[in-house]
């Protein structure tokens, strides 16, 4: 069944008739990143105005793969359970060379995690759930659809925005402006900031089709990737399942294709039939695209902060776009809330430092996958094809086949907020069952101290003390000595051998001097 794109109401903003009080935060863009940002801030008591030039959710499924870490963040924001219930959980991926399966992988073979490695869920559902969740914070989140920002000015201690509405223009002041306005960010363009990186010449066709039965050989949904598929001349193909029996098909078309010609039913329907055979189907959405990997040099420019695609874009292989953006939100929310309450401004520098590192890691991974899929020269093609050939017989070559390394959170080890020498420092929390709950439900929102031994651990009011359970699973994941200080974004920022190390580690994690 096709998704019902019901428009959100436009309400004439108060600024049209009289000056409005300054908002703590103005967020440009009501996509998944902007909406998640508003909810994160609202949960910390920070009010925001969300401005979007449109009034419907994403048209087309667009971002569909949501990684475990993202689901844990969405859990904190109050939409994780709903996404998990609606989404398609998958963990097995299969890789084919021609008609032959070369290998398969299982993403999360171990128990003891609230969320699976991945779910597939169309971006329009995610946005719908986030809008509904944002409406729970009527006093703190002011959603303004059909409000297009046409200009902004950074005055050093605040920002002013010029906004166009169906009823005419108005002006809004905010302490900070968050640009969540996507890959083509008008905010970035207005500021003339260079957005540089690698452009890939290859065209890809992306199609959503509704099918009456699964095209997979098993009942469980999987991720299937083909190099040189038998049904599609010489290129690559990707097949994923989404909710509502909608299947995502990605086909590599080559650099010499006309996108307008390819994105027509006459061209697409025969391609679909070549994959699924004679099954009846409904074409839900299609798009032909090229992509690039690019980023801003800095994500924080005075009072303007970039999050998500406005700050960095990647190719879709590895699902690092939407997932990377949600991690920006997770990283920025608690820091901006502290700064707005008089906390150390260095926290915003640490957002830039940590998420820049994350963006580089995502760009490196997605560039390598895209380069593997689209060899640039004869010798490049030769190596690619011989890797595939060796992979039929030799496990080492299977590891070199790159159809996208799936999104995992980056480590923040060695960066300014982290301290203590332990392999877990910098990593995001590893989940554990905790009575009737989960560690990821308990250790988020504020700082937490996870105690792995029975020393006399004491915490100040703003830190939650969590004794780790006495189980083998805990010993495997956290060992049995010391304690771990966990940040509000669920990254482990310090290992403490003894309780007297806590004050310095906490001061450092808050951007102050240890």
């Amino acid at each position: 069944m096709a998704f019902d794109y019901a428009p959100f109401p436009y309400i004439a903003p108060p600024g049209l008739t009289a000056p409005e009080p300054r908002a703590p935060v103005a967020i440009v863009g009501a996509g998944p990143i902007g909406l998640a940002m508003a909810i994160d801030l609202a949960q910390r008591g920070i009010a925001s105005v969300v401005l979007d030039d449109n009034n419907v959710v994403s048209v087309g499924s667009r971002a569909i793969c949501w990684a475990k870490r993202t689901l844990e963040i969405f859990d904190r924001l109050g939409v994780g359970a709903r996404m998990l219930e609606k989404g398609v959980t998958w963990k097995v991926g299969r890789l084919f060379h021609g008609a032959e399966e070369v290998y398969s992988f299982d993403l999360l073979p171990e128990a003891g995690h609230k969320y699976p490695a991945f779910i597939n869920l169309q971006q329009y559902y995610v946005e719908q759930y986030l809008v509904e969740r944002a409406q729970d914070f009527a006093d703190l989140i002011d959603l303004r659809f059909l409000n297009r920002v046409t200009a902004h000015h950074d005055h050093g201690d605040h920002v002013t925005l010029d906004i166009e509405t169906p009823d005419g223009p108005y002006m809004l002041e905010a302490d900070y402006l968050i640009a969540a306005d996507g890959a083509g960010s008008p905010t970035r363009t207005r500021m003339g900031l260079p957005f540089e990186g690698q452009t890939f010449e290859e065209h890809f066709l992306i199609v959503d089709v509704e099918l009456p039965e699964s095209p997979f050989a098993t009942d469980d949904p999987e991720r299937w990737f083909w190099f040189a598929p038998p049904f599609h001349n010489g290129q690559s193909a990707l097949l994923h399942k989404q909710p509502d029996n909608i299947y995502r098909i990605d086909l590599q078309l080559g650099p010499e294709t006309d996108p307008k010609l390819e994105a027509t039913e006459d061209k697409v329907i025969p391609r679909i039939k070549a994959i699924i055979g004679d099954m009846p189907f409904r074409l839900d959405w299609m798009s032909v695209y090229k992509f690039r990997c690019a980023r801003l040099d800095r994500f924080v420019h005075g009072r303007v902060i970039f999050v998500g695609d406005s700050a960095h874009v990647v190719s879709p292989f590895g699902a690092r776009g939407g997932n990377g953006g949600i991690q920006d939100v997770d990283n920025l929310g608690w820091k901006l809330a502290q700064v707005l309450r008089g906390g150390a401004p260095a926290l915003l520098d640490s957002y830039d430092e940590e998420r820049h590192h994350g963006a580089l890691e995502n760009i490196a991974n997605s560039s390598r996958a895209t380069n593997f899929m689209t060899p640039k020269s004869e010798i490049d093609m030769l190596f690619r094809n011989e890797t595939l050939r060796l992979a039929h017989d030799h496990p080492f070559a299977r590891k070199l086949i790159n159809s996208g390394r799936l999104s995992t959170p980056c480590s923040l080890a060695g960066m300014r907020l982290q301290s203590g020498d332990h392999p877990l420092v910098g990593r995001s929390l590893i989940d554990l069952p905790l009575g009737n709950s989960w560690l990821v439900e308990q250790a988020h929102g504020g700082f937490s101290l996870l105690c792995a031994d029975d020393q006399h651990w004491q915490v100040p009011d703003d830190v939650t003390l969590i004794p780790l359970p006495d189980t083998d699973m805990r010993r495997t994941r956290y060992g049995d000595t010391g304690a771990f200080l966990v940040r509000p974004d669920s990254h482990i920022c310090a290992f403490l051998a003894s309780p007297d190390a806590l004050p310095a580690a906490l001061a450092r994690a808050k951007g102050g001097k240890p």
Binding site: D380, F383, T387, R389, L390, H392, P395, F396, K399, L400
Partner: protein, 63 residues
């Protein structure tokens, strides 16, 4: 005989470095580079029995 992975998490980066090493060379120059690489890597592996096994396996995988 099958060959297990020895590169671990560095595999992708090393593959990319290998491809980048060929950048800007024409096909003849790339084949020459590959020949030098095989000789150098053979010397690095060292063990004659292992090198023989690799040579046989690479030949056996040809299509």
């Amino acid at each position: 005989m099958t060959f297990e992975d020895n590169l671990g998490p560095n595999g992708d980066a090393l593959y990319a470095e290998l491809i980048a090493t060929h950048e800007g060379l024409d096909l003849d120059a790339s084949h020459a580079l590959n020949a030098r690489l095989v000789l150098m890597l053979m010397n690095e592996v060292g063990d004659p029995a292992r090198i023989s096994a690799i040579l046989k396996a690479a030949r056996a995988s040809s299509g």
